[in-house]
């Protein structure tokens, strides 16, 4: 019964999110609205994270499983990528390396800046 209740809560949040997604005029994915909604519910302590632990662990641990059907769909569009396979792989790898470097240096820069502002404030006081 406990797990059923948890699934009910999570599915309920997703269902409400789909409604919100239809109401708002911008094309915002309902799954992301669900993520924000659940986060707000957790922040406002309406839901405690341990109340959802069983079903959320199940969903998160098996996330990659849920992509099998979408991945199998590649047979239907194979003609479209046949000639571009090499380019696709190059784009994936190069952009991942660039994103990694850009993110890491930005975080490092922001931390450095924060420390500097902090030490300056202390210097003034």
């Amino acid at each position: 019964m406990k797990v059923l209740w948890q699934i009910g809560v999570i599915f309920g949040i997703c269902f409400i999110s789909e409604g919100i997604a239809m109401l708002i005029p911008i094309p915002f994915p309902s799954s992301v609205i669900g993520m924000i909604l659940l986060f707000l519910l957790l922040l406002s302590k309406r839901i405690e994270s341990r109340q959802l632990i069983d079903s959320s662990n199940f969903l998160m641990r098996n996330m990659s499983f849920m992509f099998i059907p979408a991945g199998v769909g590649i047979v239907q569009v194979y003609d479209k990528i046949k000639g571009h396979l090499f380019q696709l792989i190059v784009i994936c790898i190069v952009s991942t390396i660039l994103t990694f470097a850009a993110t890491a240096y930005t975080v490092k820069g922001a931390i450095w800046l924060r420390e500097r502002i902090r030490s300056r404030k202390e210097g003034v006081c």
Binding site: I10, I36, L42, I111
Partner: protein
């Protein structure tokens, strides 16, 4: 009769679970991230459908039920961010700044390379969100006229690359900061890279899981303006 039997939703579901079990087993056997269970499962299912001459539509009777579970799986990403709230509060601005710059870098570099290689709009839209976690990437791709199965493939390639090369990239770029390493791994290679980040250290793992949610949200917001 056989066709009727295979078009039962249970067929697709059982086939996916069996194929995934084989994928997980092969990875345990070979102990390499190159043997990605999802990639193996997809290949197996395609092989079975081909050998027994079963149509994708019949398979997808069950397939679409599995796909439906993606929305709840995305929603519970909120839990992994919430569970790391203390770490996030301590590093809020650097994390958000990093995810923002990273997401922009990913989108800009993908669009530029797609143009350089002369790929059409459909392929560009399919690749665009490939650095974010799969459930969010699929929706962004769809909204921009991409093909979700290409997006899934690109997300897998990115994840596998991240799992294997995250530690090497960290040394290569001389990051030397656990928070920066974690955010960079999560933003550039989502869940795939995060499995490597968790092995690198507690802070790296926590920051990487936070970055999956934050970068997913930021990429969604950026995609609204494209």
């Amino acid at each position: 009769m056989l066709k009727e039997w295979f078009s039962s939703p249970l067929f697709g579901i059982v086939l996916c679970i069996a194929a995934f079990a084989v994928g997980v087993y092969i990875q345990k056997l070979l102990k390499t991230p190159l043997a990605n269970p999802l990639a193996i499962a997809i290949a197996l299912v395609i092989a079975v459908l081909n050998v027994f001459n079963i149509s994708f539509e019949d398979f997808n009777q069950g397939g679409q039920i599995i796909t439906m579970l993606l929305a709840p799986a995305t929603a519970v990403l909120a839990l992994s961010v919430y569970n790391q709230l203390d770490v996030l509060k301590k590093n809020f601005l650097p994390t958000v700044a990093g995810c923002l710059v990273g997401s922009v870098t990913a989108i800009v570099s993908i669009v530029l390379m797609c143009r350089a290689f002369g790929l059409d709009d459909t392929l560009t839209a399919s690749l665009l969100p490939k650095s974010v976690t799969n459930p969010i990437a699929v929706v962004i791709s769809e909204q921009h006229g991409g093909l979700t199965s290409i997006t899934v493939a690109a997300v897998i390639i990115t994840g596998v690359f991240g799992t294997i090369f995250a530690p090497l990239l960290t040394r290569l770029f001389r990051i030397g900061n656990s928070v920066a390493t974690g955010v960079a791994i999560g933003t550039s290679s989502h869940v795939g890279g995060t499995t490597a980040a968790i092995q690198m250290g507690e802070v790296e793992g926590a920051m990487s899981s936070i970055a999956i949610g934050v970068a997913g949200l930021i990429t969604t917001l950026i995609a609204l303006f494209l």
